[in-house]
Assembly symmetry: C2
Homo-oligomer: 455 residues x 2
């Protein structure tokens, strides 16, 4: 871990310009600025193409921390620092392959390890048992499972309108499936990727080993490979599946949340946090997950400076580390906040991809939600209609204490799980204008929260 | 023009199943069906990859008419027919090139003819005068313009939230610019493409020659080529621009609107029209404009049949011909409707691209709008929040008579003008799930209109 870097910039010449401008006029300035002069898209290009993916614990994640500190400083932060966070260190390895062998020969299948998986120690070869659910697994029991590779072949529910709900429904198979399979003697566990797309990209994501069972290799097949394997199993239920992955786990290391602030002019000790997560999975470029949330958060600070908005509260941009594999950044931030007695008015997170914003998901008390109604409707002319209670963001949720207001940017996320945790989550799949509309929406909400508070 | 094709299918065995099911339950069935079993995406693949672009008057447009008739029949229409429509016949030609020559050499610039442009009769070579607006053109006057090529270099306004409004603001330059330039003696007119993207695709689209001035060649440069040319002009205001296009106009021909119906069980003489336009420009594949509207409209009919919804009113899918270049299909349909005394309850159009639906733009009387409020909120669980008065669709607007209710599917169109009228408007840029959500939204509205009427 590098030493904490702290910069202070003189505020001597700063002057208040908020007095005479209405909230609606500020919002208009925000949108005009971000849509015509925003640079979040160029920041994203640098993050994705200059640094690339950045799994917590990796060298590239440390590069991203350094980039975040400098970028926030250049964006105009009064103060920039890193908060030490301990994170896991795991590597996928350079071999992640699988094939199915039938009497007709071998079929290579697109696969990748789930995050945290143990390796196979050379090729692992066994029969496959296909199941649809954790319940079906339990019904089959040890007799049918022991010595085999369990194949959870369950698609996300396409009939659900909100893709996040479809993901939530399939999520337990990825997190618990491998340990539940091991409980019945399975030698490995493979799952259909959590996606609504019909393509050949395997989707990684964390799995959680239980303490009381053996850690078996765990991996995700692409949607196409899952269909291929299922078809092969219909013809030859005793086909041999070969899996080879050289993943490795190492001792935890120190990295950091990156923080940049504009000090509040009236209530400097009251914070509004704006953030996303700086880490990503170690395939693709972590563009929509969550490079976009990072560059949007930085743009909030840059825009407020550029349009001359001087906040009453301290605006604190937080680039959280390790959302993907244990939420260490979010948990650590909340712990430090409590120990330090930091008072947070609200926190805003963007972690649903850089798509067109539709509104905000809120975690507010009923009284706070009522309080916000008159001024949140000022976002409607900007197509932000969907302002609902429920859900915010993984990184900011540890701050929840019944007082701090939590907001998650709600976007048109129908395509999000096409890219999520894959080699296809790349800069090219982000639209500049959609990204910038999200940054403007977050900035507008920041202004409203700063001007009106939550009570 | 082929003879009108009419098919009748027996309704003897049809039985009503609507009686006991609530509107909300029907909507749930609609979404479940379209999201899990919809085939609109496969229809779009056939239309875009099997037929390709289909400019009204072309042979491929006629193929699309034939495909539409058969596809509606296979989708389960009780009756399918073509309504004769006279359309223009214009060809772009196989040469659409431009270059700028300075003392440093030639620079090729990405260009394409505006729809309806006359050709250049071999290479046309002249100096360029760059202007930002029709007003600036008039201020310069004949002295500065005569003998030159007028270059309208005006970007769409990125600060506007709704891209349709930004397009509307820039539209007069494309439609009127060439004739206004000719009025002052220009020999040709080139415009910056109407787009918010910063890429090298030229965007075509109709221009309208005035009767009282000479028809001069008219073309669109890509956004990148416009920036290139503008930079070259700063260095060398007297550079020579060479334009060559072999466009040709031919006598008008007969093609047809394609119509497929499910006959109403209670009010067979009352129509609900659902449609889009079958024609496209003659570059790209007309995927978002408006292949998506076509396949969504067909899916409405197919879905109603599949879920066993027997409509009270006649549900009429109309695939309009030639929206792009004179709106002949929409105008003819409304004329025939008036002459035939057809009574229309409502019309729904999808012509904003196959993106995630956000709601509906409505053209309703105040009383009708009030009447719809209680039941249109039933669409909110499907993320259709944006239900607003104002705007519907070009093809259905000629039906407007103060009684018929007009609805346009409102979508997340931030990227629409990236693809619009370009070689990049291709099947690959349409997302299956987003497309199907639009089809489901249109079907749900159809059910609500059929069950509740408008008064």
């Amino acid at each position: 871990m590098k030493p904490i870097i702290t910069f202070f910039i003189s505020l001597v010449f700063a002057t208040s310009v908020c007095g005479q401008v209405s909230d609606s006029a500020w919002i208009a300035r925000v949108y005009d600025h971000v849509l015509t002069k925003g640079v979040a898209y160029e920041d994203l290009r640098t993050l994705c193409k200059g640094i690339g993916h950045r799994l917590a614990g990796s060298e590239s994640a440390q590069k991203a921390v350094d980039w975040g500190l400098l970028t926030l400083l250049n964006a105009g932060a009064d103060r920039v620092f890193a908060m030490p966070v301990e994170v896991p260190h795991w590597t996928r390895g350079n071999v992640n392959v699988a094939s199915a062998t039938t009497s007709r020969g071998d079929t290579a299948l697109a696969i990748t390890a789930l995050g945290g998986s143990v390796g196979t120690n050379g090729p692992l070869r066994a029969e496959v048992i296909e199941v649809k659910s954790l319940e079906e697994l339990a019904e089959l029991g040890r007799e049918k499972i022991e010595g085999k590779i369990v194949f959870f072949n369950k698609a996300m529910d396409a009939a659900l309108i909100n893709t996040g709900a479809a993901y939530g429904g399939a999520f337990p198979i990825r997190s618990k499936g491998p340990s539940e399979a091991a409980r019945f003697g399975a030698v490995a566990c493979i799952i259909r990727s959590l996606t609504l797309a019909d393509d050949n990209f395997p989707h990684t994501g964390a799995t959680q080993y239980e303490e009381d069972v053996r850690r078996i290799p765990a991996a995700a097949l692409s949607a196409v490979a899952s269909r291929q394997l299922s078809a092969l199993l219909k013809t030859d239920p005793h086909l041999k599946f070969t899996l080879e992955m050289n993943c490795e786990a190492f001792p935890r290391v120190m990295q950091g949340n990156v923080i940049g602030e504009i000090t509040g002019s009236v209530y400097p000790d009251e914070y509004i946090v704006i953030g996303g997560h700086l880490d990503s999975w170690d395939i693709g470029e972590g563009a929509h997950d969550d490079g976009t949330g990072i560059v949007q958060s930085i743009e909030v600070l840059r825009c407020l400076k550029a349009i001359g908005y001087r906040p009453q509260r301290t605006i604190r941009v937080v680039l959280f580390i390790n959302e993907e594999f244990g939420n260490d950044g979010g948990i650590t931030y909340a712990k430090v906040a409590m120990e330090s007695g930091w008072k947070h008015l609200a926190a805003i997170e963007s972690d649903g991809g850089g798509f067109t914003p539709l509104g905000f998901n809120c975690e507010l008390t009923d009284a706070q939600f009522e309080h916000t109604r008159p001024w949140l409707t000022k976002l409607e002319p900007y197509n932000l209609f969907k302002i609902r209670q429920g859900g915010s963001g993984v990184d900011i949720r540890p701050l929840k204490d019944g007082k701090v207001g939590l907001f998650g940017l709600s976007v048109d996320g129908q395509k999000y799980f096409d890219y999520h945790h894959t080699n296809n989550d790349r800069f090219e799949n982000v639209n500049r204008r959609e990204l910038h509309l999200g940054a403007a929406a977050m900035t507008a909400l920041t202004v409203l929260l700063d001007m009106h508070g939550l009570e």
